[in-house]
């Protein structure tokens, strides 16, 4: 018989809980996981995260493309006149030059082996010491582009005449600290001032936004359209679907140049030739080179951006396949029951699209919009290959390239890159806030 007391006792036993901390199995799993993740983490750190940080660093540096080579001392050694007989005097000269235009070279020390058969004529340069056959000169600091000729007067002895040794046979070694602008502690806000001053930056930002918004929306609208076309079954549907993906799959370099050829304003441009042959235009239209053309609609005249529109159209052409693929996949997972029910209730095709398809697609459309928005904003190759950023098509990404490599001002380019990074960061936070969990 169980007494009440015993029952109480058993109730007081601690409730079963999972053990705290990690057991040996859990620790093993953790170690394994870290080993598996580590290589990925390291390479991503090295090639993505570190450069991102380096961008910040460079953007505060007045560094140009030419500064990438650290300052070095270039030298040229010779002996003149060549001693012929014992007692001939000659001069060994080292012509030295700091190659860098902007970085100084500190603590330069020249060491060279001194030909055995020669003796010093007069006094040795006060910065140099000669120990046996080893010459060592403490040359101090060289300013950028500073040049100097170090001369040492020598007299030939019998040993030299018997066995002449050209001092040039032994190469001098110059050690010291080349001051690279990249690594020194000089910082400035010059790049940011340059980027933000003037109307150029805001123009570029505006072009970037136009390009991104219209490119994204265009690609989605055309993708939706194409997906509607292929959502029915007909013979050859697979082939058509594959064919419509060509613009995305083909290398950007190939399709961009093909379009450049088609849109060319010169005599070889296909589209202009066609338009002129059938009499649609009088002269060629410079699709990629014309900034704006006045268009008047209902009495309003505004400047229609020709090149920008062309570039956006190219973006839409190249990326509609992506949104089309996404949307088609989503549409095929909508069950046909809903449509059949709507049909029974007398819903017309457009009503079915408006009240059944669109709401079902809203989620995927939002996801595509956000992702495509970021990727279109990031786009560089397409615009660069089509126009090179000319004629009002310079976006922020093209601006990075232009500043850093065309004007060869790396620092300014990095400053623009930092701006791009922040725009992206904000967009990414936005995505995290609004993206549905894991069902793309």
């Amino acid at each position: 018989m169980i007494t009440p007391g015993r029952a109480n006792q058993s109730r007081q036993l601690p409730a079963a809980r999972p053990p705290k901390g990690r057991g040996p199995l859990g620790r093993g799993e953790m170690r394994l996981a870290y080993t598996m993740v580590l290589p990925t983490l390291l390479i991503v750190m090295a090639i993505v995260l570190l450069p991102l940080a380096a961008n910040f660093w460079i953007s505060f540096k007045p560094v140009e493309l030419g500064d990438l080579r650290a300052p070095t001392i270039l030298f040229n050694e010779r002996i003149r006149p060549a001693p012929q007989a014992v007692g001939d005097s000659a001069e060994i000269s080292y012509r030295l030059r700091n190659t860098s235009k902007r970085g100084e070279f500190a603590d330069a020390v020249l060491t060279d082996s001194f030909p055995a058969g020669l003796t010093i004529d007069g006094t040795l340069d006060s910065r140099c010491t000669l120990q046996g056959e080893s010459l060592s000169c403490n040359l101090g600091t060289y300013e950028p582009l500073q040049r100097e000729t170090l001369t040492i007067g020598v007299i030939a002895t019998q040993a030299y005449v018997d066995e002449p040794i050209n001092p040039r046979d032994s190469k001098p070694v110059i050690t010291g600290k080349g001051d690279s602008i990249l690594t020194n502690s000089v910082f400035s806000l010059k790049n940011y001032r340059k980027v933000f001053s003037g109307s150029e930056f805001w123009k570029v930002l505006r072009v970037s936004l136009y390009y991104t918004v219209f490119g994204t929306v265009g690609a989605i609208v055309f993708g939706l359209f194409a997906a509607q076309l292929l959502n029915t079954t007909f013979p050859g549907r697979g082939i058509v679907r594959g064919f419509y993906l060509f613009p995305y799959v083909a290398p950007v370099i190939a399709v961009a140049f093909a379009w450049v050829l088609i849109l060319d304003a010169g005599p070889g441009g296909t589209l202009n030739a066609i338009l002129m042959k059938i009499g649609a235009t009088d002269g060629p239209i410079n699709f990629l080179g014309r900034r704006a053309t006045p268009v008047s609609v209902f009495g309003f005249t505004f400047n229609f951006p020709v090149a920008l529109t062309t570039v956006i159209s190219f973006e839409v052409w190249r990326y509609f396949p992506l949104s089309f693929l996404f949307i088609l996949a989503r549409m095929q997972s909508v069950s046909s029951d809903t449509y059949e029910a709507a049909e029974m209730d007398g819903a017309t095709p457009l009503q079915q699209f408006r009240y059944i398809s669109l709401p079902q697609l809203a989620g995927i459309l939002a996801v595509i919009f956000l992702l495509r928005f970021i990727w279109t904003f990031n786009k560089f190759d397409d615009i660069f290959l089509l126009t090179g950023g000319a004629a009002g098509t310079r976006t922020l990404t093209v601006d990075i390239y232009e500043q850093a490599f065309a004007v060869s001002n790396l620092g300014a380019g990095a400053a623009v890159a930092v701006v791009v990074f922040f725009v992206l960061l904000i967009s990414a936070l936005f995505i995290f806030k609004f993206s549905p969990d894991d069902d793309g």
Binding site: E29, I47, I58, L68, A254, F257, L261, P349
Partner: protein
Amino acid sequence: MRVGNTFFIALAIGALWGLIYIVVFSVLAMLISGDTVVPDVGISMLSGAGGGAVYVLGPGRVGGRYRGGYWAATSGAVALIAYVVLYYWVRSGSISDNGSVNTSDNLVFLTALVTFAVASLSWHLCLDGMDSGSQARYQLEVILIRVLKGIGFVFFSVVVALPFYIMVMTSLKSQQSLLSNPLDLSIDFSKPLAEHLRSYKELFTKYQFGYFLLNSAVVSVATVIITLLFAIPGAYAVSRLRFPGKNVLSKSILLIYMVPAIVLVIPLYTVFSQLGLRNTLLGLIIVYPATTIPVAVYMFQGYFRGLPYELEEAGLMDGLSRIGTILKITLPLSLPAIASVSLYIFMIAWNEFLFAFMFLDDPAIFTLSRGVQSLNSSEIPRQHLMAGAVIATVPVLVLFLWFEKFLVAGLTAGSVKG
């Protein structure tokens, strides 16, 4: 014979298809033949409207019953005759005196024939099952959607095919024929094949495109292999194993592959210049996997989560180690995903332009993207440039068509990147 709203819609549809196809096929005729074909758009619309009317007024219009294709053909023939008659009537002055038909006239007739053959098929598909009386809203919307779909197919097909067509045809032309008539993209079959392929021959002999192909292949394959080696364990750990920081890691993968290459290019250029890695293929083989690994991890972790964990648990229970489970159970099950990811990564690496452009200066180690870019100068004739573009495109497209199923799967899983 009732004449309601559908009759007028048929007129409009006939005119529309007459307009669209006469433009499309005239341009096509121009590109194929090299001759000028000036279409008469007005006449074509008029004839098309007539054809549409004939079609919709025709027999077999009892509601919903299938109207035979023969009647579509009849209406097309009517429209064609109308077009030809009107065309020559309008420009009767331009017919040569002796009454003989010249090549250009043949071409006009051929264009019209194709135009109205396809147009009659189109209005047949649009108006099938409708009679000429008034239709309810439902039927009208059905017609509207059919018309929109038709326009869509024509539009997308033309727009997608055009650049590729021009690319291939231009690459087969010679310099002087391109200069004399840029629209003449015809192939002269009387010339030997070798003459058409001259640009290709020159690219492979004078411009080292053989090496470029090889370099691209080496870089792309290396990228795929390295990416798989890094991404598969990483993705497995993130999707299957428990460890602190797992969620942060899994989320930040998506973030990291949002970082654009152009932002990385300045620091990487700087550092790789100092390390002597810049003008080397090794530099590319380091950078490419780093940019593709996050995508690959993202794709793989989605796939691994979808695999039933019970299979792996069974393996573990039977005494396999964790690594053994991965090698013997998970990987064999993931072969489709591996194929998809590999193809997708290969495509990214093969098509990559920015880093190749920034890093490579030495023509001996150009990849195809960089090589084609180097052809873009005013001194090099454009058929060479287009031949280069074709050489760069063909391998990816062949691969794509061959493994379309896998690549489409890869694209949908990973194409958040682009």
